[in-house]
């Protein structure tokens, strides 16, 4: 049985901390163990504030650190993120104020694209994929995934499994976009998270929304199934989730939702028609390129 806990939060630091504690305490039996170190993988995919619905809220991270210290004492805690095609972790930690948080909470910031990298192979479907990961990920006692709850033009939802795609050490992740679903699943088969805490305080659907949700669970696939349903999607129709079920990344058949009802959040989440957006964006770009070919007109590089 995979338990996923949902907690309703307000929008002040105190309320967010309470919601994180509430969500974690409801699944405590599934996560309790003795640990000496923890690595928190946040979503800091770009230089965007958490209020845009794109990146993890620092207050959620701060509450998780407090929870870990309360339960496990003075353990070593690190916050990690890996470089992306157009984002550099050393800048994003500074721009999004992780540097101050790390100082305040005495935790370490790690760039998961630098340092020792291990190449790991895994078979997904009939493909063998080889992906690089920082050694730090495998050395920590407890890996905590703290994704943002958001929709995404490519995989439809970006939450627990997609955030682990972001942990791949290779910065140029565009190269995986041609086989994104397989890569997401491969990354999740290689990197097993111990705990997932979803930041849905401000989530991203058709637009950012003050959803006030903190979700937690030890099975990332179960968490994503619940989040997808809250967003109004059928999880089995989302490519990477469907593939993850076939690859047995987690248990999607026996999910127990505890705490708040999903309906509380589903009723206010602004569902985004990702498939239509994808189609219209592609169609517009094709039309524009056709127009440019016919007329010889210029396409600004920002669009092209």
């Amino acid at each position: 049985m995979s338990r996923v806990s949902l907690a309703k939060s307000g929008f002040t630091s105190r309320q967010i901390t309470n919601a994180v504690y509430e969500a974690l305490e409801r699944i405590e039996s599934q996560i309790s163990q003795r640990i000496r170190s923890a690595l928190i993988k946040v979503n800091a995919c770009f230089y965007w504030d958490h209020s845009t619905g794109q990146t993890t809220d620092l207050r959620v991270v701060s509450a998780i650190i407090d929870y870990l210290r309360d339960h496990y004492g003075e353990i070593d805690i690190k916050i990690g993120e890996a470089d992306a095609s157009v984002m550099k972790t050393r800048h994003v930690f500074r721009v999004l104020n992780y540097v101050s948080l790390a100082r305040e909470k005495s935790v370490e910031l790690v760039n998961l694209s630098s340092g020792k990298v291990l190449e790991k192979e895994v078979e997904v479907g009939k493909q063998i994929l080889s992906l690089p990961f920082s050694k730090e990920i495998f050395e920590t006692d407890f890996l905590i995934n703290v994704p943002k709850m958001k929709t995404h033009i490519l995989p439809t939802i970006s939450c627990s499994l997609k955030n682990i795609f972001g942990i791949i050490a290779e910065p140029y992740k565009y190269q995986y976009h041609s086989h994104l679903e397989e890569t997401i699943v491969a990354a999740n088969r290689i990197v097993r998270t111990d705990l997932t805490v979803v930041d849905g305080i401000i989530a991203l659907g058709k637009h950012p929304i003050k959803l006030g949700l903190v979700a937690a669970g030890s099975d990332p696939l179960a968490v994503d199934f619940v989040i997808a349903r809250i967003m109004g999607y059928d999880p089995l129709r989302i490519g990477h989730l469907s593939l993850a079920t076939r690859e047995k990344v987690g248990d999607f058949k026996n999910i127990e939702v505890v705490g708040e009802r999903m309906e509380v959040f589903r009723s206010i989440f602004p569902k985004r028609n990702v498939a239509f957006e994808r189609f219209s964006f592609d169609a517009l770009l094709r039309l524009l390129r056709l127009y440019a070919r016919i007329t010889g007109d210029v396409i600004p590089p920002a669009i092209d």
């Binding site: 965007w48 721009v95 007109d297 600004p300």
Partner: protein
């Protein structure tokens, strides 16, 4: 035929290169950029004289015109050297990072008798030229209050597609003007539309992100007897190039106008202008490049204007003086009135 050398092939360089290719009587013969990927990009555009050092380009190339789109902190050295090599210059804004650097450029331009225009593309937005006409014709009466606003992603691009941010944007010294790198456009418009040196009354700055410089500012000033409020920021998601969160609101004794009212729906505009271009092509006429892209078309028009002025030996509409005045006002803003909004 103008032989053009382009220095710097980042985003702006690539846009100017594409525009040069559709301007009659111009040919980009050489490009300088130290990045290997930009050098490859240059070759993909059919430009095969590619240099990694702009100094070498300026020494070896027999260009008539140099288009400079290097990072801000290199403007002074690059433009000065281009002037000394006797070439006319189009330089992206800002002219330079400091008044002292602008004055050095001014001396080099005057001493070598070359012509220089700065890329103040906001002057070429249709809505802005229309406002300028209304002011000059007196339709709005005496302008008493003006609000200038430009709150965008800044270097952080649109929410739909993140783009690589050049490293120099994270270094205060290299970026130079901080948030006023964007505010520069609004200060230039204030100078140009109201024709008075702004007197800064208040300037407050704020940080939304933890950048090494401020990322939003509010400035109040007087241009003669006109009160101006300028809001500029680098924190707002806008989906460029469709949504440009720019506006001016002018209140005069005889009327008022907002550029929002003068700006068409960008999608309808694109369809209308695109269809016109297809028709032009079908009946064998020349197209109007970039006219479908409401905001981006200003880049084509400014460059076109520059080459037209050179061809017809007409005075350039934006000179070293304009760049110098704008940077001077920005230095006033930073030096005299720096206040935190918190």
């Amino acid at each position: 035929m103008f032989k053009v050398a382009l220095i710097g092939l980042g985003n702006m360089g690539e846009l100017h290169l594409r525009n040069c290719r559709v301007i009659d009587g111009t040919r980009v013969n050489a490009i300088a950029d130290k990045s290997k990927s930009s050098q490859r990009k240059a070759r993909s555009y059919g430009v095969h004289r590619v240099y990694s050092d702009y100094r070498e380009l300026l020494t070896k190339e027999e260009a008539d015109v140099v288009v400079v789109t290097v990072p801000n902190f290199l403007h002074k050295d690059c433009v000065t050297l281009a002037a000394e090599s006797g070439k006319d210059i189009f330089v992206e804004k800002p002219l330079a990072n400091t008044v002292r650097e602008c004055e050095e450029i001014k001396r080099a331009v005057q001493k070598n008798g070359v012509r220089l225009m700065i890329g103040h593309n906001f002057r070429f937005f249709d809505c802005v030229t229309e406002v300028k006409k209304l002011i000059d014709e007196g339709v709005l009466g005496d302008i008493k209050i003006v609000t200038f606003e430009y709150v965008c992603n800044g270097p952080f691009t649109s929410s739909s597609e993140p783009r690589r941010i050049p490293e120099w944007y994270f270094e205060k010294e290299k970026l130079g003007l901080g948030i006023m790198d964007t505010g520069y456009h609004l200060i230039d418009l204030q100078h140009w539309l109201l024709r008075e040196e702004p007197r800064i009354l208040f300037a407050g700055f704020d940080h939304v992100y933890q950048l090494p410089y401020e990322d939003s500012a509010t400035i109040t000033s007087m241009s003669g007897k006109t009160r101006c409020v300028t809001n500029v920021g680098w924190f707002c998601h806008s989906k460029l190039p469709v949504d440009e969160n720019f506006r001016m609101v002018l209140h005069g004794t005889a009327g008022f106008i907002s550029t929002d009212k003068l700006t068409p729906n960008p999608y309808f505009h694109a369809i209308k202008e695109g269809a016109k271009n297809i028709l032009r092509r079908m009946i064998g006429k020349k197209i109007h490049p970039l006219s479908y892209a409401y905001w981006s078309s200003s880049y084509y028009r400014e460059l076109r204007c520059f080459f037209d002025c050179l061809k017809e030996d007409k005075p350039l509409p934006i000179t070293v003086e304009d760049g110098l005045k704008t940077v001077k006002t920005i230095e006033d803003i930073y030096a005299k009135n720096l206040k935190s909004l918190r």
